[in-house]
Amino acid sequence: MIEEIAARFPYWMCAALIAVGLFGMIQKRSLVKKLIGMNILQSAIILFFVAGGLREGATLPILLEQGAGNADAADYVNPLPHVLMLTAIVVNVAITGVALAFLVRIHREFGSLDEESLIEQVRQ
């Protein structure tokens, strides 16, 4: 069991982070904490992609010796997941930004970020 976890440490790590993130989003009453949970969840997925692109003993995905025939793909880290994650990070930043703007507006309107008290106030 322990060897299994050690061998695939990044994957176990991100499974744990996903669980933590989901827990935060569902369980916490404060909207800010829900947002933090969301960020943890998104980071976990970024970690998953980045770890998946990694290859033991490989190098940067830059063609080292021009024309030397060293173009064996197995020698390089897979760059595509990393590039995808750049885009995903941008998307996540956009979502977080919008969410924070929402929170500022909600706080101004209700004077609170506690979910229960917000629901209470909306009902009235």
Binding site: I18, K34, M38, L84, T87, V91, I95, F102, I106
Partner: protein
């Protein structure tokens, strides 16, 4: 196709630009559909990089069809809700319409892309615009918008995780390549896990039943100009993405035999039909009733997809169109009533059959279509769904689809009875006219001030102006026309598309 429109909407004449832009993209989608039917799929390599290196856009029969439905309904809704947008967005009409266009651009991109990761990006673009639009709906809308954001990003994250599993198993993000590689390779746990994650993610976006929690609040509390736009098209494109997974990404029968996704969809869809319809009966707010009925109708779409036969997919796609048109009609009619009377409770509709004959006639057409009265569009998608159920021997599906018509009839006739048969009784509407989701009007002149005096609203109510009624009438007539034309649509557009 829709994308260049976004940048142009920041000026003062935002409404005309938004309307013109969406009309233009409707025309472009119509042209694309004609082109696809005549000459086969259109392919466009983004930046000149051919797949698998680059991102490819593919317009085939199915995507052109969905694009046309989305853009044309959106155009009519934008035209019909101008007065609401003026009232709700006021001086900020520019940013408001920019968001609407961003939403359409995201949805359009989702429809045409042939790249799994690109789909994620467009999914988040359209969702982000939708969260913000819902957020504009006053105090209750803020809370609904934030909830929608939290749940929606869980959906997006799950979809991305599923794409990650698929990518690491196949090494490609192009949909067709994925299908080729998956067909050749033995089944693996990680592909199955990926499929499940993708469908949970998309299920959240399309409000499949246990994942529907964001929808009723979002539709009820969003501004009227927004919920008439979101309700018809937003979840439909999520459903389209699911159909796309069945058609292009996973090989034939893969999702049925290997991943249990199809059966899961079928069961959840059936539960959704029953749950949505029963919940709709109990609602006293017309928008909330329509929102729950959306959940039921999306269940029907999920059932069609879950059958995983060509006939089932035809039924699902046909219902995507029919439901977009019907819900567009109903939400627009509800917005028209609110424009005139300021009320949105079911009781508030009492006696309006005489005061607002045109709006109510359109509402009736849309409602009857949803029940599934024969010449109307709604009947035919149910017919095809039932037929697909018979074909694959799933009698439960047939029973539930037919039963859902009865349940729909219950809540529809509750409304229609009030509209036409009851005189406007003074005391009648009082208890139920309290609504939580009054769109807090930014400018302060909320129309809901007359909430207390129910008889007054009926006396004072008159038909909405022509620019509201005209798009409404077009949509309502479309439910009839599309019903009559359904066999043409199925044999010429959908059947070649799903093969």
């Amino acid at each position: 196709m829709v994308i260049p429109v976004v940048t142009r909407t920041r000026s003062g004449v935002a409404f005309s630009l938004a309307l013109g832009g969406s009309a233009l993209s409707t025309a472009a989608s119509a042209w694309a559909l004609a082109e696809v039917l005549a000459n086969g799929s259109i392919r466009y390599d983004l930046g000149g990089w051919a797949p698998p290196v680059g991102i490819q856009y593919v317009v085939d029969e199915v995507s052109a069809f969905v694009a046309l439905v989305v853009t044309s309904v959106a155009t009519l809704v934008i035209a019909g809700t101008r007065r609401w947008a003026e009232r709700e967005a006021g001086a900020r009409a520019g940013p408001f319409y920019a968001l609407v266009m961003l939403l359409l651009a995201g949805l359009g991109g989702m429809v045409v892309t042939a790249d799994l990761f690109n789909l994620f990006v467009f999914l988040e673009i359209s969702s982000l615009a939708a969260y913000t639009l819902v957020f504009l709906g006053g105090r209750a809308g803020m809370l609904a918008g934030f909830r929608y954001l939290v749940l929606g990003s869980i959906g997006g994250a799950f979809y991305l995780l599923g794409v990650g599993f698929l990518y690491f198993s196949t090494g490609t993000l192009n949909m067709e390549e994925t299908a080729t590689i998956l067909a050749a390779s033995p089944s693996s746990r990680s592909v199955q896990a990926g499929a499940v994650f993708i469908f949970v993610g998309l299920g959240l976006k399309m409000a499949l039943v246990p994942l529907h929690l964001w929808l009723p609040d979002a539709y009820t509390h969003a501004p009227s100009s927004v919920n008439s736009l979101l309700a018809p098209i937003m979840t439909k494109v999520g459903a389209y993405a699911m159909v796309r997974m069945f058609l292009s990404v996973f090989p034939d029968g893969y999702l049925k035999d290997e991943a249990l996704v199809a059966d899961g969809l079928l069961v959840l869809g059936l539960v959704g039909i029953v749950f949505g319809s029963v919940a709709a009966i109990r609602q006293s707010d017309i928008r909330r009733m329509l929102a729950y009925s959306s959940i039921g109708q999306l269940g029907l779409i999920a059932v069609g997809i879950g059958l995983a036969t060509p006939l089932g997919l035809v039924a699902a796609l046909l219902h995507v169109m029919n439901h977009a048109v019907m819900k567009g009609t109903l939400f627009l009619a509800a917005a028209s009533v609110r424009l005139s009377t300021g009320l949105s409770s079911v009781n508030g509709l009492t006696g309006l059959g005489r005061a607002m004959p045109l709006t109510m006639a359109c509402f009736t057409l849309g409602a009857l279509s949803m029940v599934g009265i024969p010449p109307m569009a709604g009947f035919f998608s149910k017919w095809w769904a039932a037929q697909a159920g018979v074909e694959s021997g799933q009698w439960v599906v047939v029973a539930v689809v037919l039963g859902s018509s009865l349940l729909t009839a219950v809540y529809v006739f509750i409304v229609l009875e009030r509209v036409y048969l009851r005189p406007a009784l003074p005391a009648e509407g009082h208890e139920a006219s309290e609504e939580t989701g009054v769109p807090v009007d930014e400018t302060g002149d909320a129309p809901d001030a007359s909430d207390e005096g129910v008889p007054a609203h009926v006396r004072g109510a008159s038909e909405s102006p022509v620019d509201v009624v005209l798009p409404l009438a077009v949509l309502a007539l479309a439910t009839v026309v599309l019903g009559v034309a359904n066999s043409f649509i199925v044999t010429h557009v959908l059947e070649p598309g799903v093969r």
